[in-house]
């Protein structure tokens, strides 16, 4: 549907078998005397039927007829009784859908001038070959199926199956999200049980390269990282989801090609950690989502609705972090934040939302320092004085800025992977070169991901006062400290939490992906609303 495709163990095995079957054909077999011996594989199409097909193999029979041969992974049915499909009766020796596929191949052969009356199905499961005669019933069923397929092609995305076992082996389950969608769309959604169909984390690694002069390349199926002094480390390419390059680091074109093909994103950041740009493959694949995005974001009401939920979620998540970690916190602040969250739900314009968000952020940032228990701060130095940036003036702000860059990078990758345009947002003002949608979507996660990593690294002493360059007007993190911060950030992204709505566990990185997916489904009109996550 919509040309979406995801690989799974089954599809990989299937296409591998097809490839090998195709390669076994020698050029000479097809080149000369083609029509005396049967070709091994054939592409055929027909205007009248409106289908094209790839035939694995066709065989020439002595009686002057051609027979298509199709191999199947499964086992054949026991063949006792015949199948009823609508008004038609089909042979019981093979599954109806396989027969219809074979018959479609037969019809294609006929249309292209090869006489044919039957075909063969080979079931690898129980190594059985079944000969199927193209009966009138089978041909009628096939023609009806082709017509139905043409109708479906024009239709919108179908709703997911209810409680189907097929979801577990379907390779599109991460896109379709069957149980989640049913819960969010049906009126009595609360009662819909959520099964663990999509794995809680298929998290792969994010490679950070920050040592100046390092070269990143590939060899075979490996990623190689060669440092300036010639030391080499390798990582299997299949385990990599993202590559982040900080400052003067080289990357090879061969690797970039491979990454773009397999959907690995590459981000370029300055040595100080500001996001400069991203590489991702052509996101035009799911261009329908982008079209809807531009339409919906042109509508003032849609934009306001989304913005309200975003600001509300951001304030509530900030409140949760304070409630959990701040010592000696004035309870009034918690109550104030709750009020701001409520008011944001009723805001009548983006401008008033900006006002509410600003006030809440100011209160939150002033209380932020209550969450920190840092030892070894020299007398006369400030650990934190509200939020400041460009450049950050104290250690906490330096860490916050770096954390937000990393989060921005991850959110960007998640949105681009779903096919959304990262630059077209609904809440942040649209400016050239500003990834508004990324900034919008990361708001609820600033507190629960980035801020929480900052609090944790400082409180555990993982990053200490000595790890910073403290200048007159700015403050930045030294390289060893930065590496430890990257590791802490990765640990956080791999951590699993219970999803407040669906009740299953998933990692923070999957959560970003899930949010991006839900936003795109909302924009496509498949979900009634989009509400970002609020942790308890």
């Amino acid at each position: 549907m919509q040309g979406l495709f995801e690989k799974s163990a089954d599809t990989v095995e299937g296409s591998g078998q097809h490839d090998r079957a195709e390669r076994r054909k020698r050029p000479s077999d097809v080149g000369h005397d083609v029509w005396d011996i049967a070709p091994q594989s054939l592409h055929l199409g027909d205007e009248d039927l409106g289908i094209v097909g790839k035939l694995d193999a066709i065989r020439y029979q002595d009686d002057g007829y051609w027979e298509p041969v199709e191999a199947k992974h499964s086992s054949a049915p026991n063949g006792g009784t015949s199948f009823r499909l609508g008004e038609w009766e089909l042979d019981g020796k093979a599954w109806p859908n396989d027969q219809i596929q074979l018959c479609a191949q037969g019809l294609l052969l006929r249309a292209n001038g090869f006489p044919t009356i039957a075909g063969k199905l080979f079931y690898r499961g129980n190594r059985q070959t079944v000969r199927i005669v193209f009966s009138d019933d089978l041909i009628a069923a096939t023609v009806a199926t082709i017509r139905r397929a043409h109708e479906l092609e024009q239709a919108s995305m179908p709703s997911p199956l209810l409680n189907s076992d097929k979801c577990f082996r379907c390779s599109l389950n991460g896109v379709c999200l069957p149980d989640e969608t049913i819960r969010l769309t049906s009126p009595d959604g609360e009662t819909v049980p959520i099964r663990d169909i999509v794995p809680s984390r298929d998290d792969l690694g994010t490679v950070y390269v920050s040592e100046p002069g390092t070269r990143v390349g590939k060899r075979g199926y490996e990623l190689t990282i060669t440092s300036k002094d010639g030391m080499e480390s390798t990582v299997p390419l299949k385990d990599v989801r993202h590559i982040s390059l900080f400052g003067n680091v080289q990357i090879s074109t061969q690797l970039v090609h491979d990454c773009m093909e397999s959907g690995v994103t590459i981000s370029y950041l300055t040595a100080a950690g500001r996001l400069v740009g991203m590489n991702h493959n052509l996101i035009s694949k799911n261009v329908l989502v982008r079209r809807e995005q531009f339409k919906r974001f042109g509508d003032e009401r849609d934009r306001l609705t989304l913005a309200r939920y975003i600001v509300r979620a951001k304030i509530l998540n900030q409140r949760t972090l304070l409630r959990r970690n701040a010592h000696g916190l004035d309870k009034v602040i918690l109550k104030d934040l709750l009020d701001h969250a409520r008011r944001s739900e009723e805001a009548t314009s983006i401008d008033s939302l900006l006002g509410i968000e600003g006030i809440a952020a100011k209160q939150y940032m002033q209380a932020f320092v209550l969450m920190l228990k840092v030892k070894g701060v020299p007398a006369g130095e400030t650990l934190m004085n509200g939020r400041n940036r460009r450049p950050p003036k104290d250690p906490v702000n330096a860490l916050l800025s770096l954390g937000y860059s990393l989060l921005q990078r991850d959110m960007y990758a998640a949105l681009a992977a779903v096919g959304l345009d990262p630059l077209m947002g609904f809440y942040h003002r649209i400016e050239t070169g500003r990834p508004s949608l990324v900034l919008d979507m990361m708001e609820p996660f600033r507190a629960i991901i980035a801020d929480s990593v900052v609090v944790r690294t400082l409180n555990t002493g993982e990053i200490a006062w000595d790890d910073f360059y403290i200048g007159q007007e700015s403050c930045s993190l030294k390289l060893p400290g930065r590496k430890r911060f990257f590791q802490a950030f990765e640990r956080r992204m791999h951590e699993t939490v219970t999803h407040p709505v669906f009740g299953y566990k998933l990692s923070y990185r999957r959560m970003l992906e899930l949010e991006a997916r839900f936003l795109s489904r909302y924009l496509m009109g498949e979900l009634p609303e989009y509400r970002p996550i609020v942790t308890r």
Binding site: V12, G220, E222, P236, K483, Q487, E490
Partner: protein, 97 residues
């Protein structure tokens, strides 16, 4: 879900051996001669098998896949023990260079 798979091979031809070595390196950690410890999802395992099937000789070579347990449960530490030199499985959370 990823699991640890111990992949070991016996290849009778130098040229094929070289190609197999290169492929498996991209899927796991080289632990000993002809022995790799890989962290594979079902899909990775299927891919690796398809790649190897293109290279190996069906009746003369052999590749063994031994599943050890899920990556999350620290199965490598629990189900495998070694004496002498130690080995540390790859940690995808710490790819910082």
């Amino acid at each position: 879900m990823r699991r640890y798979v111990l992949v070991s091979y016996d290849i009778s031809d130098q040229k094929r051996w070289r190609r197999v070595y290169k492929i498996v390196r991209g899927y796991g950690m080289h632990v000993q001669y002809s022995v790799f410890l890989c962290q594979l999802t079902d899909q990775d395992e299927a891919e690796l098998k398809q790649l190897l099937l293109d290279v190996i000789h069906q009746s003369m070579d052999q590749v063994i896949f031994a599943r050890i347990g899920t990556v999350q449960a620290k199965a490598a530490e629990r189900n495998m023990s070694c004496i002498g030199r130690d080995f540390v499985p790859l940690d995808l959370k710490g790819l910082v260079f």
